[in-house]
């Protein structure tokens, strides 16, 4: 506090502190606490608010726990998000390594432009592209049937479609952090390992992967969080059988009008993401400051 008013003078320093407080309190902390408050109260008509029935309980959470399909959808969301994370990692790692260690500067900048342009565009447009590709009488089915790989068209919308669309949507969040950390590895280390007789796999396992740990942690944290919290891909590319947890939240808010239960589902999602983030940071032994830069 003191250091800030001393550095910028009292009026300016106070102004900065005020802005930060307004942000953290008004847009981050208090809204989340309000959400928790809602989650712990029953959904009552306006006349009964503050009445005898208006008290704290875990009913909304228990509802999720006891519901025949919602708990299942929750678990499936976790599982699928983890799958998306692993999938994007596998897709991105070789390229990130190539960009960070092998490519010439020209190739690097050309590829980085190629990579970022699709991502400067709308997330929904990226989803739309896959919506068109995966359509029942769309280009993917047409091509596969034409090549004789399929005897008749397949319904892609559903789990497969959601997975493909998500991996596509969050590719860059995995690629860039890994590329950044791989590129700080001194190539001499790889040469030294090879000189000592290590094979390609061993070099990656013992030298490159440990060095790129922070980037991988960052990529995984963000991809998982974005996937678990995504509404767009499942809404566009899903089928009735592939509902996502976020869709349940949306339905509580705007279909069933039960905001309290929706808030409880939201809190559940938030806690899941926090646990996943902290768990992954612990797993990779990376601290928050170096993971989010």
């Amino acid at each position: 506090m003191n250091e800030i008013t001393q550095r910028f003078g009292r009026p300016l320093g106070a102004c900065f502190i005020l802005l930060v407080l307004l942000w953290l309190a008004g847009l981050v902390l208090v809204p989340n606490l309000t959400m928790l408050d809602f989650a712990l109260r029953p959904n009552l008509p306006a006349t009964q608010l503050g009445g005898p029935k208006d008290g704290y309980s875990f009913d909304n959470f228990l509802y999720l726990w006891n519901h025949p399909s919602h708990g299942w959808i929750f678990l499936k969301t976790i599982w699928s998000s983890a799958l998306v994370t692993v999938l994007t990692f596998l897709i991105c790692y070789p390229l990130a390594y190539w960009l960070g260690q092998v490519s010439t500067p020209r190739q690097t900048s050309a590829l980085l432009v190629l990579l970022t342009v699709p991502y400067l565009m709308n997330e929904v447009l990226r989803g739309l592209a896959w919506y068109i590709i995966l359509a029942f009488d769309g280009p993917l089915n047409a091509a596969l049937v034409h090549l004789g790989l399929l005897s008749e068209p397949v319904r892609w919308y559903g789990d497969g479609g959601v997975l493909a669309g998500m991996a596509y949507a969050y590719l860059l969040f995995m690629l860039l952090p890994i590329y950044n950390s791989v590129s700080t590895l001194d190539h001499a280390q790889i040469d030294a390992a090879r000189d000592l007789g290590a094979g390609t796999l061993r070099i990656h396992r013992r030298v490159v992967l440990p060095h790129a740990k922070v980037g991988i942690a960052t990529g995984c944290v963000f991809t998982f969080m974005l996937a678990a919290g995504s509404y767009m891909a499942p809404a566009l590319l899903g089928a009735p059988g592939s509902r996502w947890f976020t869709q349940l939240i949306y339905d509580w808010f705007f279909e069933s009008g039960n905001w309290n239960r929706g808030a409880a589902y939201g809190v559940t999602l938030l806690v899941l993401c926090l646990v996943a983030v902290l768990g992954m940071l612990r797993l990779f032994q990376v601290n928050l400051t170096s993971a989010v830069k």
Binding site: L22, W23, L128, G138
Partner: protein, 293 residues
């Protein structure tokens, strides 16, 4: 040491009967390279083909956007785009929200970075965790938390609430970008200006702010993109407003026509032009360092 020259001599021997063995021994060398080539092609296809298909479908006469079957080439969808009042309205709505987000998140994000870098030790890491937490919160959760709290204090869904909800995490992006630049700021510069008689406010305006300008321009750009493409958060706080992403998504499931593709095409073109201009400007700046003020 001694058997090295022998090994090289052997490998130079023209051994035609041993040719297949020679190839076999090279296979572990060639195979990864070949695999990488294949992977590289697959990656670029995965990355770019969806966008090409999205763009190509604009020119198909078919009233559902697809490229199979091709019903004839037309530019009628592009013409239709410019006559579509709804789209223009959605675009305007997105622009207003983005302007509001920039107006809030640039000053607050800058203040946050300044406050953060003025602190040390534990206070700093606690504040840091709070400041990046919105980036680790699913967009859906930010949306509902903002909605629940601000509804309570009388601000309902709409443009204002969309601005607040998006700012909540876009400020974090701005903060990170400004803080990264601040790390390279030499604070004796502030002392030097003070020692020459400048007031603290003047030092901030004349020394610190110009130094931060590149980061602020970049942050402005990122804020604009993030705001424009946001879907998950805006979905919950939009009220009856229909920004662009919401509009597109709503059309995908009901009444999708290639007009949306035409819109996507326009955004792609704008993005590519923007990216190229950005690169050109950056290049020019680097080649004439004296003009960097």
């Amino acid at each position: 040491m001694t058997d090295m020259p022998i090994a090289t001599a052997n490998s130079h021997k023209p051994a035609s009967p041993l040719r297949h063995r020679f190839l076999a021994s090279r296979l572990p060398d060639v195979l990864p390279r070949l695999a990488f080539r294949l992977y590289f092609v697959f990656f670029l296809t995965y990355l770019l083909l969806p966008l090409l298909i999205l763009a190509a479908a604009t020119f198909n006469r078919s009233s559902f956007p697809t490229i199979v079957p091709w019903l004839g080439t037309t530019d009628m969808w592009i013409a239709a785009l410019f006559r579509d009042g709804e789209i223009l309205k959605a675009l305007g709505s997105s622009a207003v929200i983005a302007a509001g987000v920039i107006a809030i998140s640039l000053p607050v994000g800058t203040a946050a970075a300044l406050v953060l870098t003025s602190l040390h030790g534990r206070a700093r890491s606690v504040l840091y965790a709070m400041m990046v937490s919105p980036l680790l919160t699913p967009g859906v959760v930010i949306g509902i938390a903002t909605l629940l709290f601000w509804r309570k204090v009388g601000v309902g869904g709409g443009v204002a609430l969309s601005i607040l909800a998006q700012s909540s995490f876009i400020i974090s992006f701005v903060m990170l970008m400004v803080a990264a630049r601040l790390q390279r700021f030499d604070r004796t510069m502030e002392d030097a200006a003070l020692g020459l008689g400048a007031s603290r406010v003047y030092v901030f305006r004349r020394i610190l702010l110009p130094f931060l300008r590149p980061a602020l321009v970049g942050a402005c750009f990122i804020a604009l993109l993030q705001s424009f493409e946001n879907y998950n958060t805006t979905l919950f706080v939009r009220g009856t407003e229909t920004p662009l992403t919401i509009f597109i998504a709503s059309k995908v499931r009901a009444g999708l026509t290639p007009v949306i593709n035409a819109l996507g095409l326009m955004m792609m073109v704008a993005t590519v032009i923007g990216a190229v201009l950005w690169e050109v400007v950056r290049h020019r700046k680097r080649s004439t360092p004296g003009a960097g003020r």
